[in-house]
């Protein structure tokens, strides 16, 4: 059991290599003036961030959440709602206290994470009463509940979604310049990676993984899986919520589609494609996904069928994901 020190070092190296490749792509694109590539890379960073959030619950905690789009969407909607109120100069609510809109990212992010975290606390507290396949379906169902709520609540656009015209601002940067917005997203991704690497090696992370590998044994040494998993689930939801906020700003648009179960599936695909429980798994997964979408999308309008076949092949023949293929010898336990 466990990856040796050497295996860990190799994985860290690979993580750095993947991040450098993403950064290098953007630098080359900036020099050659290909703004579209920078936007694609920004999308990769944002989706990777969402995946890093899910990976904490799924990879390290063994909690197969099929409802992370809920947190992604909540992060997005908080951003959209605050920005649209700031644009109109109205208050979001006056009860119990006056909450004004905002177009400052530094103010929006904590709100988005707080809202996503609160939702994760509620959904997690209920869902963690179940396990296994029930957990998968229950998280899916709760996400679907929020999806239908977003559709049937007309105040913020309902089915049509909500757009806001100016990207929110960040002190000292012009967020509308693609490469500057990419830098923000990339920095947050790196921060999240550092945070999850630290979490995984902390007492908390070790206990979480122990509870995944053998619940009875963990319980026998005094670890309470429920509380542990709930905390992991909430942190996971908050990170994915932050990614949702960035995604909303990227498109300057939020819609119920951000909460749809396809989105949950895609976030899951980023994690599994890259490698479950691998630090850089979601980054590799998101990058390959966006690349495939871009390349196959040019070949055929039915590219999703090809993507499906590819996914199928990976599940059946390379269960460790892409990172597992590269680091074949130190298999993740």
């Amino acid at each position: 059991m466990g990856k040796g020190v050497k295996g860990m070092a190799r994985e860290t190296l690979l993580t750095l290599a993947i991040l450098s490749a993403l950064l290098g792509t953007v630098i080359v694109a900036q020099i050659t003036g290909e703004g579209f590539v920078i936007t694609l890379a920004t999308k990769v960073a944002i989706f990777a961030l969402a995946g890093v959030g899910l990976n904490l619950a799924l990879g390290y905690g063994g909690l197969v959440s099929f409802g992370h789009a809920a947190f992604f969407g909540i992060g997005g909607y908080v951003t959209g709602i605050l920005a649209s109120h700031a644009g109109a100069g109205t208050a979001v609510t006056t009860l119990p206290f006056a909450l004004m809109g905002s177009n400052e990212m530094l103010g929006i992010w904590p709100m988005a994470m707080l809202a996503a975290g609160a939702a994760a606390l509620l959904i997690g507290a209920l869902s963690l009463r179940t396990s296994g396949v029930y957990f998968i379906m229950v998280t899916l169902a709760f996400a679907q509940m929020l999806f239908y709520f977003a559709i049937s609540w007309p105040r913020y656009g309902g089915e049509d979604g909500l757009s806001f015209y100016v990207r929110n601002s960040f002190p000292g940067l012009n967020t509308l310049v693609p490469v500057q917005y990419f830098a923000i997203c990339m920095a947050l991704l790196v921060l999240a990676l550092i945070l999850s690497a630290a979490l995984v090696r902390s007492r908390f992370g070790l206990a979480l993984q122990a509870a995944r590998q053998n619940e009875q044994r963990a319980a026998a040494v005094g670890i309470r899986p429920y509380a542990l998993r709930l905390v992991a689930f909430v942190i996971s939801g908050m990170i994915t919520g932050l990614a949702g906020s960035l995604y909303a700003d990227l498109n300057r648009f939020v819609s119920p589609a951000m909460m749809s179960w396809h989105m949950s599936g895609e976030i899951m695909v980023f994690v599994i494609l890259g490698g479950v429980g691998r630090l850089a798994g979601p980054v590799a997964g998101a990058a390959v996904f966006i690349l495939l979408e871009h390349l196959l999308g040019g070949v055929s309008e039915y590219w999703k069928a090809l993507l499906g076949l590819l996914l199928l092949a990976i599940v059946l023949f390379a269960p460790g994901g892409l990172i597992g293929l590269v680091l074949r010898r130190d298999r993740h336990v």
Binding site: V133, Y134, I136, A141, Y148, K304, G308
Partner: protein, 304 residues
């Protein structure tokens, strides 16, 4: 009152349709321990088969037969080629592989039939309305769906409880190694169970496709509702699937019909109807949360 009875019947019809979906899902999970997201795709296959055959032959009933056959064949094929490799994998792999199957099925169907919805027309025998006691005009076809659902439910209970195949299915749920050791061809049993579940989903797709329309992606919302049904009913239990389906069907239809008006009566302001309809769209999930609070294993599920 007449409105209430009409909506209750709609709820019953919706519930029966959900039961057809949930029965296959819960059987496959109970016997093989497999979570199958592609069940909604088999529903779609049934609907398209029905629409295509009905258009080609002019016979709606041949279309219904085609929906059963096509979905069963597609199900058996998928089981042999893909699903069979997933039984000993964890749920995560199953979710991802069957998610991939959805992509393949949906895009494949779009490639074959295009993105435009197809419509089915009812034969004269099944169209029109019947007069129910109390002066209510109710569409005959919706009554027929309720009837078909009831017949399928009875048939399934008979199959599971009274026939040799049913004994094997129940034995497979209890201990698959043992019945394999006793000489039952477990691989064939699995294929049969999977095809049976697929056929029921295909039939549901054809019936609903007739009321609404036949289009790519039609199976997905229904699939998630079927999940809610089997969470409420308890995974693996046919009886749970029936009770859960009727509960969900009734709650959803009655909630959407009655809640907005109810809120308008007790609340003032233009938001009342909005709150009502938003709440109605969440009602079945709230029901699910309540059931989970009291019985995490579902109404008829076994802990384990």
């Amino acid at each position: 009152m007449v409105l209430f009875i009409e909506q209750a019947l709609n709820g019953l019809q919706y519930g029966m349709m959900l039961f057809l979906m949930a029965a296959g899902l819960t059987l496959v999970f109970g016997v093989m321990g497999l979570i199958n997201l592609a069940h909604g795709s088999l529903y779609m296959v049934g609907a398209f088969a029905c629409a295509w055959v009905a258009a080609a032959t002019g016979s709606f009933f041949l279309g219904l037969v085609a929906s059963l056959v096509a979905a069963a064949v597609a199900g058996a094929l998928v089981e042999v080629v893909v699903i069979r490799r997933l039984y000993h994998r964890d749920h995560l792999d199953q979710v991802l592989a069957t998610f991939a199957l959805i992509l393949v099925f949906s895009e494949g169907t779009r490639w074959l039939f295009g993105s435009f919805p197809l419509y089915l027309t009812l034969p004269p025998v099944l169209s029109g309305a019947v007069m129910l006691p109390g002066g209510l005009q109710y569409p005959l076809f919706r009554l027929a769906i309720i009837g078909i659902g009831a017949v399928v439910a009875l048939g399934l209970f008979f199959l599971i409880n009274r026939t040799r195949l049913g004994i094997r299915i129940r034995a497979g749920e209890a201990d698959r190694e043992m019945i394999a050791a006793l000489g039952v061809n477990i691989e064939r049993l699995y294929t049969i169970v999977f095809a049976l579940g697929a056929a029921l989903a295909g039939l549901a797709g054809a019936l609903v496709g007739t009321i609404q329309s036949v289009q790519v992606g039609m199976g997905e919302p229904v699939l998630i509702l079927a999940f809610v049904v089997i969470i409420i009913g308890g995974i693996g239990s046919i009886k749970g699937a029936l009770i859960g389906a009727l509960l969900v069907g009734m709650t959803d239809v009655l909630g959407k019909a009655l809640l907005p008006g109810l809120f308008a009566r007790v609340m003032v302001g233009s938001d009342a109807a909005t709150v009502g309809s938003a709440l109605a769209s969440m009602l079945i999930y709230i029901l699910m949360a309540l059931v989970l609070l009291v019985r995490p294993q579902g109404l008829y599920g076994q802990r384990g």
